[in-house]
Each structure stands twice: as C-alpha cells, then as structure tokens.
Amino acid sequence: MNILVCISHVPDTTSKINFTDNDSKFDANGVQFVINPNDEFGLTRAMWFKEKQGAKVTVVNVGGSETEPTLRKALAIGADAAIRVNTKATDGFKVAKQLAKVITDGSFDLVIAGRESIDYNGGMVPGMVAGLTNANFVNNCIALEVDGNTASATREIDGGKETISVGLPLIIGGQKGLVEESELRIPNMRGIMMARQKPLTVVEPDETNSKTASIKFEKPAPKGAVKLVPEDNLDELINLLHNEAKVI
C-alpha cells in the first residue's frame, strides 16, 4: 500500500495569534510551528499500516522552505519520504490542486489528511482533493482499517458515528480517534538521525489560481470582566442568565 499523509505546518496550539502588515498577514514572529494535530493522528495511523501491513508512507506539504523542519519531524516519526510543493498556500483550493497532482504522479492508494488545519480552519482540502482526483472520500474519520483494496472507515456524525465500507483509492479527512492521544510518537534520537538521510524532494507547483483571497484579520474585542456570583446566592446567577443574558 502506498500512503500519502498531508502535513500542514501550523502554529502550536498554545500560540498567541498576532497579525502584521496592517493586519493582513499572520505574524510568525516568536511562534513555534508543529505538525497540524489532526494530521499527526493520521500520520501515526499510517505508521501502524507501515509496521503491520508493510505500507510505504510519504508525507507532503504545500509551502515554502520554512515548513521543512515540520516535514523532517514527520520523517523522524517514521515516514519514508517527504515531498514539498514549493509554493505559498494561499487558499484551500490551490493546496488541493497541488496535492491532487502529487497523488496522480505518485499513484497513491490511500491519502490521509487532517479534517482541518488548526490555523485557517478551512476544512476543505481533503474533500477537494477527492473531488479533483475522483477518489472516494471519508471525512471526520475516527477509525480506519484497510484489507486489500477495501477500507472500513468510521466517521463521526452529529450525535454518533457511522461505519462505511469503501474501495481504494481513498482520501481520509482524519482526526483524533484514528489513534489515541497516548499513541502519538515523539521522535527519538535514532529517528531524528535517520530522518536526515531520508529523501525530501522539492517539486515546483502546478499553475493554479486561488479561488478565494484573504484580505484582513481581526482579533476579537477584549472581553469585559467576569461577573462573580457568590456560591450562596445562585438565585442571582439564574436571574442574570434569564433577565440579562436571556439564555435560559
């Protein structure tokens, strides 16, 4: 099985978010970047396929050279090879278009991406890749098994879950549940050393126009002070929720 895992390079979940250039750009200054958590669950599941079923695992990112440490980390976790498509990820469609070309060129049977990145939260790349490559697609995937050319995938639905049987090639929009949090791997020294020897191929982008453009960012207005209610006066809390906030 030939697996491609799509890796987004995103600010660490604890990052304070700031903007620069007149609020038109994300300010990467002082920000630590990590593998997008939803992608990391997929990468770890791919490691299972590699170890138990002999799959080959390639990771891919669409971005500038600043994303290479994140790809190297994925190699240190155990991926066999990495590809970077050398272009700025300006919108979900453009990224999907680049990934679709990588998938067609590399004849991958299974593509695992996170259901969304935790920076722009577009939630569209895996589905667009499926649409562009005419492959099957399961989103919000929380469990995945592959047997020959067929997969069994469980997806989270509003208020429950649903199990689907589906043929390869298959695109997965993955999330926590693909593996448990406790199964995530921290690269060890041997992995980090080996990652240096593994191929990281830079490919030039397909000419594509973005369909959407980011114009400006805003931060939420600062929050007013909390109204504290003494614990022996919960009637006041109910009064505030009913008459002031009007939510009960």
């Binding site: 939630g123 589905g127 639905i157 448990e180 939420p220």
Partner: protein, 319 residues
Amino acid sequence: MSVLVYTESDQGKLKKGAFEVASYGKAVANQLGTTVTAISINADETSVLGNYGVDKVLTVSSSELESFNAKIYASVIKQAAEKENSQIVIISSSADSKYLAPLLAVDLQAGYVSNVIETPISTSPFTVKRNAFTNKAFEITQINTNVKIVGVSSNAFGLVESNGSATAEDFSPTIEASNLKVESVDRTTNKVTIADADIVVSGGRGLKGPENWGMIEELADVLGAATACSKPVSDLGWRPHSEHVGQTGKPVASNLYIAIGISGAIQHLAGVNASKVKVVINTDAEAPFFKAADYGVVGDAFTVVPKLIEKIKAFKAQQ
C-alpha cells in the same frame, strides 16, 4: 439567480441549521435583490421554511438517498444550483454539510468559505467575515469565482423569521452510483448533540472521576443541554472522545456554555469561545477561565452544582 440554501434534515425532520441557512440566505437575497430557493432531501414538512424567508423549495424524495452520501448529495445540490442558475449556495456547519461542501465546490468550480459568521460585508467583490485560528481571530475573505459557496457557522447569524410562504416543487435529479456503503450507524438516541445544542454543560478534571458525572448529566437534563468535557477528561477515558470540546476536539458555538471544574487552557478556550455566554464554576479563583467568562461562581462543584440543579428546577417549574 436565486440564492440556493441546502436545508438539511434528519430522519425527515428539518434541522435547526436548516432554518439558520434559510435566514442567512434571505439576508443575502435581500442584499442582492433576489429570491431564496431551498433544496431539501427526504424532508417531510418543508412549508415552514417560508417563515424564514424561503420562496421556493425543491423537494427531492428518493429511497436511494435514505442514507447520507456526501458525493451523491453534493451532486443533487449541484443539479439544483444549475436548475436555479444560482451563483450563491449556502450550507450549514453540520458534519454532513461540511463533508459535502468541498466536493460541491469542485463540482461547481466554486470558491468555498467555511465558518462564516455574518452577512457579506460586500457582495461585489463578495467579501465575508469568518472564524479562523480556532476562534482566536476573524478572517475577512473575498471569493473571486462566479459561483460561491458560503458555509455558515452554527448559531452565529441565528434565526430570523419573516412572513412569507414557500411553494414546493418536486425535483428529480439524476442520482449517481457510489461504491461507498454505510454498514452501520450508531446514534446516541434521545440526547441533544453538541452541534445542535443551545446550551452545553461541560465537565473537567476538577470533577475528580467519571463516577461524578451524574450531576453534570442531571444539570444538562434540566436545562435541555448537551454534555461535553475537556481534553484531559477524554484522554483519561472518563468520557467518550465524542464529548471532547476544544481546539482538537469539537468546536462549540452554543448560546450558553457552562464549564464546571475546567481551568481553561488556551486550547479549550479557543474551542468554546464562539459560545455567546460562558459560565464558570471552579474552586480556584485564579483559574484562567474566569478571564474568558461572563459569569462565574468560585466554589466547589460538588456543593454548587447540586444546589444549582435544584434552583433551576424551581425556576423551570415557575415558568
């Protein structure tokens, strides 16, 4: 030229999100001076959409569409958009709508923007405001394609009633084949889902163990709320992953979010920040969540929550 809204239903019943997209679609149609058409699949009562600004409903009834299939549903919506010559398609933020939206965008060669929280800032160029960075920021985005898909964030625009009426028209799209088969569905019955809930009651590690969740469930029950939990609680296996809310879990955008024994890590706050009103109950007055909350009670959950349940019961009985 109508604005097309996909009004989702569940087992024949229109979902709350359907009325939200209808309300939003009406506001956009007003900006553009056009009408609203809804596309509804296997829904029983669609005339009520008229109360939210829909002028016409394309009703599709087909046993082949009984279980949700993103690709096939996207194709049905595409055919509706083409029939109506719609340049703007509005969808909700439900799991199913977010699943089909990118497929629909490829089918329609449309630009798609998700998590939109307000009516367009401008319709030419078409510019919208959306949540990004897991509610830590807003992004103003422009869609540059002829056909545009807008995914509306749950509970952001809300429901707006108008006094119109919707005419129903049978619609029989071509239904594609699919080799994707739903084998089983496991639904938690009779429980409000986090996605649909107006109120969410959430518990954290401060509750000390899964055996103490009875009062969380009871409080949720008296409020008609969904239950949720923080990440450590789901990692410890006290509660199922499906209840984990926060940056890597489910996003919450309820009217009221009650956090009990949750200190308020930055990732948790990001995931629940879209909720309109936040109440925190925590023993630690220094817990960061108090800075992000509207109302707070500094106190022990084990004494505060049972008292609160009794007070709310009494309040509800009065209403």
